[in-house]
């Protein structure tokens, strides 16, 4: 019986996508919803939907954006069903690097808190650019924004992170001197 309709290739394509992008999508999902369990479910559901719609993915180079779009839609559906609780991102990060010093862990925890305090409209394009390695044009397409809007948002995201970092540093320095 000959293999019909490229079924074998379809499975191979799917497995490649899962291997290449599941970890990054999971990280993106955690930053999107602040919940490891929900992020895990989101990524698995994303891939189930991706499998069903795999034939609509014509350009393999667009796979990452395509998967992100599916994940964001799935998250929107989840959000319609129940509002995820507000969480401290550091509570959901999970295992840390064992070779980090307590100071490094604390510094990283503070940085993560600052990221999580960003408004989602700033945090999301920053995640896509930094974590997912997407170009401004790709982010604009994924988020249905203009490129200049994306540039403004990633700029403001960084500006707010730096500003908060400087403010916390000043407070810490003042507390040390007192």
């Amino acid at each position: 019986m000959p293999v019909m309709f490229g079924k074998f290739d379809r499975k191979k394509r799917f497995d490649t996508l899962a291997r290449l992008y599941s970890d990054d999508l999971f990280r993106f999902g955690v930053w999107l919803c602040g919940d490891r369990t929900l992020a895990d479910d989101l990524v698995q559901e994303t891939f189930i939907r991706a499998w069903k719609a795999l034939d609509s993915l014509k350009d393999v180079n667009a796979a990452k954006s395509w998967l992100i779009t599916i994940l964001r839609r799935e998250y929107a559906r989840t959000f319609e069903r129940k509002v995820p609780p507000l969480v401290n991102i550091d509570d959901v990060i999970g295992l840390e690097q064992p070779d980090e010093s307590p100071e490094q862990r604390l510094e990283k925890a503070h940085f993560r808190e600052r990221i999580m305090r960003l408004e989602p409209k700033y945090r999301e394009p920053l995640m896509l650019q930094t974590l997912m390695g997407m170009a401004i044009s790709e982010i604009a397409e994924s988020l249905e924004l203009t490129e200049s809007a994306v540039m403004t948002r990633v700029f403001r995201a960084r500006a707010q992170l730096k500003e908060r970092q400087q403010k916390e540093d000043r407070l810490e320095s003042r507390a040390t001197h007192e």
């Binding site: 019909m4 309709f5 955690v30 895990d40």
Partner: protein
């Protein structure tokens, strides 16, 4: 542009696009110490940002996804496997080349469908097969035809359709498609509004072709092919590539 403005512009640029490999960025950092410092600060910030963002993923996530996909693909097949023995028995029982309707009361609805399919096949089955050798339907036209019936087909399937047309079914219109494959044509009749029993059933048509009637989540379909083509396996694969919009089919 003075030196202070240069470094400010660079700082602004790096907060939007922090790629340190950008040739313009490299050039300006080489030619100006203030700009070089701005670039170092940006790189340190980005490293800190990436370190914070790169949270550990869950071990085995990709493997779980692949396993879940296989499980999802297999799940609908279970009733098929359970039904195979009964269906094959049914096929073996039909030795006559003349189609005989099923007299089993439990399959009364299916036997009605079989009667219709047999008449349909006798009416234009062979004619449509012959026409498919000389005519090539456009994929877009076939897709439109199916959309009009509330049927969605995978692009791989659409690409194999050599001829598609509207046909009558026991309930409303359906699609009569001929698919090209390496081993010869296969006829697929999709009946969006005709619901059959969940177990597939098989018949030998009047000209010796083997036919399988299969329930979809909404509606049903029949696959008709030469007896040596393993029409059951073809139908099993096609079933995963066809879906009927239940709301449209009502």
């Amino acid at each position: 542009m003075n030196k202070a403005m240069d470094s400010k512009t660079l700082e602004h640029h790096l907060m939007t696009d922090p790629d340190p490999r950008n040739p313009d960025v490299v050039d300006v950092a080489k030619s100006d110490e203030t700009c070089a410092a701005v670039l170092r600060d940006s790189q340190a910030f980005e490293a800190q940002l990436m370190d914070a963002l790169k949270i550990p993923s869950r071990a085995g996530l990709a493997q779980d996804i692949m396993a879940k996909q296989q499980e999802t693909s297999r799940r609908p097949e279970l009733p098929w496997m359970l039904a195979t023995a009964a269906a094959v028995t049914l096929t073996i029982g039909v030795v006559a080349t003349q189609f005989l309707p099923d007299s089993n009361a439990h399959h009364h609805a299916d036997s009605d469908v079989w009667v219709h399919l047999a008449q349909h096949w006798e009416h234009d089955g062979a004619q449509v097969l012959n026409a498919s050798q000389a005519t090539q339907s456009q994929t877009a036209d076939v897709e439109q035809l199916l959309i009009g019936l509330g049927v969605e087909a995978d692009p791989d399937l659409l690409a194999q359709v050599s001829l598609g047309k509207i046909c009558p079914t026991p309930e409303g219109d359906g699609a009569h498609l001929v698919l090209n494959s390496d081993d010869g044509p296969i006829t697929l009749i999709i009946m969006p509004k005709t619901q059959t029993l969940s177990a597939p059933s098989a018949k030998i048509m009047s000209d010796g072709q083997e036919a399988w009637l299969v329930a979809l989540e909404h509606g049903s379909m029949a696959v008709i092919a030469d007896p040596d083509r393993n029409a059951f396996e073809i139908a099993r694969q096609l079933r995963q590539q066809v879906s009927v919009d239940g709301t449209l089919a009502l």
